[in-house]
Symmetry: C2
Subunit: 324 residues, 2 copies
Amino acid sequence: MRKLEDLQELISEAVEKLTFPGYPAELYEPITYILSLGGKRMRPALLLMACDLFGGDVDAAVPPALAIEVFHNFTLMHDDIMDNAPLRRGRTTVHERWNQNVGILSGDVMLIEGYKLMMQVEEHLLRPIMNIFNSTAVSVCEGQQIDMEFEQRNDTGIDEYLEMIRLKTAVVLGSALKIGALIGGADQQDAELLSVFGEQLGIAFQLQDDILDVYGNPEKFGKQVGGDIISNKKTYLLIKALERANEKQRQELDDLIALKQFDSTGKVAAVTALYDALEVRQHAEHTMQGYAEKAFVALDAINLPEAQKQYLRDFADGLLVREN
Amino acid sequence: MRKLEDLQELISEAVEKLTFPGYPAELYEPITYILSLGGKRMRPALLLMACDLFGGDVDAAVPPALAIEVFHNFTLMHDDIMDNAPLRRGRTTVHERWNQNVGILSGDVMLIEGYKLMMQVEEHLLRPIMNIFNSTAVSVCEGQQIDMEFEQRNDTGIDEYLEMIRLKTAVVLGSALKIGALIGGADQQDAELLSVFGEQLGIAFQLQDDILDVYGNPEKFGKQVGGDIISNKKTYLLIKALERANEKQRQELDDLIALKQFDSTGKVAAVTALYDALEVRQHAEHTMQGYAEKAFVALDAINLPEAQKQYLRDFADGLLVREN
């Protein structure tokens, strides 16, 4: 088994070698630009890892892995427009650096380039893999739409939230693993089990992200503590807190959310105190654990040698390690 | 051979029957909305016509034909955002009726839905047809980008303009015919010849559109005479006029283009007088005729019975009839 870091490195190098036509420049330069902003290349690396797990030819899986990365960056380019985001990974977003129309149209052609890359698979896998890619792409769009609607609503339920993060972020992890498994020679059942593993682990990972935003060690986590609280982001913690709050607590939370001018540290401390009183962290961890367990149940059922399964368990443990 | 109008009708009915998920509503309702705005359904009808020409099963070609229509409407949805257009076929555009983010994301999912429909072909045609679809989609994006850049430039050449309309509008006509031909059982060479026929005819048709805007009979043409002149649209006529103008004429044209407040009739008359003096209509018609001839040369070389070829000739003659 190749190390995950080596696979991430392999993808990074392949991304650097990706070239697009020179004309029209404003259509293609933004693609090269956004791909150059880096990132952990986790999705394509997972695709290669799955291929490797089943003894497949990792090099043959590089184009579809790149497809997943190009697709992911297409969603970032369009999401940044929709979210009006000035920065992406500390650098100017495409619609800010060029303009909004460039962001829309470059994103469109990126999605098509993703399809072109994804088609570089063996004949017998073309239709099944394109079907997975289609339904994954639809799912990400649905998740983004639901996420945007949440920002306008105050009655989001936990189940809706969990379905949103599944659609927006977890499905693509499962699909990357499934596509890699199929290329690696896995049968339909094992590929599907690996997909479930990835999807459930993806939801757990997203919940951990919500928890770490409030309770993580900022030095290890690498983000400002309470960023989600400051921006009133609808996370598992906030939705759960609103659900569990009594009238007085609900009023307190509503008031904190409604603040136009505030001291960040004070707001974070006040919201965190409410979270503590309402024990939302425990609820979030319990739910997260539930998804992790479902992931491990799927993993156990995969028809792979024990060493390969252990590799996946170690990977999951590394992902869900609590760094607080 | 089925009549083209019957094939357009068949497509219109199939479009009406297309259904999308109910949730999230803001993602899918705009798709149904823009598809309901009508249009001649020419692109998908051409796909069916090509299938029919080669004796194929027209019903089997309906999903890929719908793919072409869904794809076309995806480009309209995004183009309307980029052009800041309030109306499409006399009705509110998607980004105006909902909002811009809805227009971006619904458009994205429409492109994916187009792929899903295009994949509904026989196994041996899947890869070749998806390759055509990919390169067509890229071409339309490139054409749109170049078109947007033209609006910012004053030095556009005729060759660039012709390449732009080829990429933006003609390629998809050729591809629709090619895909239909392949589904109908045509061999690679005949499908390619039919594609050339469609592409060259598409360029000729676009040039005719430029001419009719100025010289067409408004009652038959159904558009305001001089609409392109009023909006300073860079058409073949304007580019050619700028190219052929002497210093004085160039100054006159530049002044007319720069007018902020003007009487429409007066501006149209003044620009048309310059076009007449510079004989740009004759140049446009000559160029248009050249593309039409290339279309007919390709048509003649197709291995089809004379009756089928005559059908295509009649179709082309009907498209290029001068209604002025």
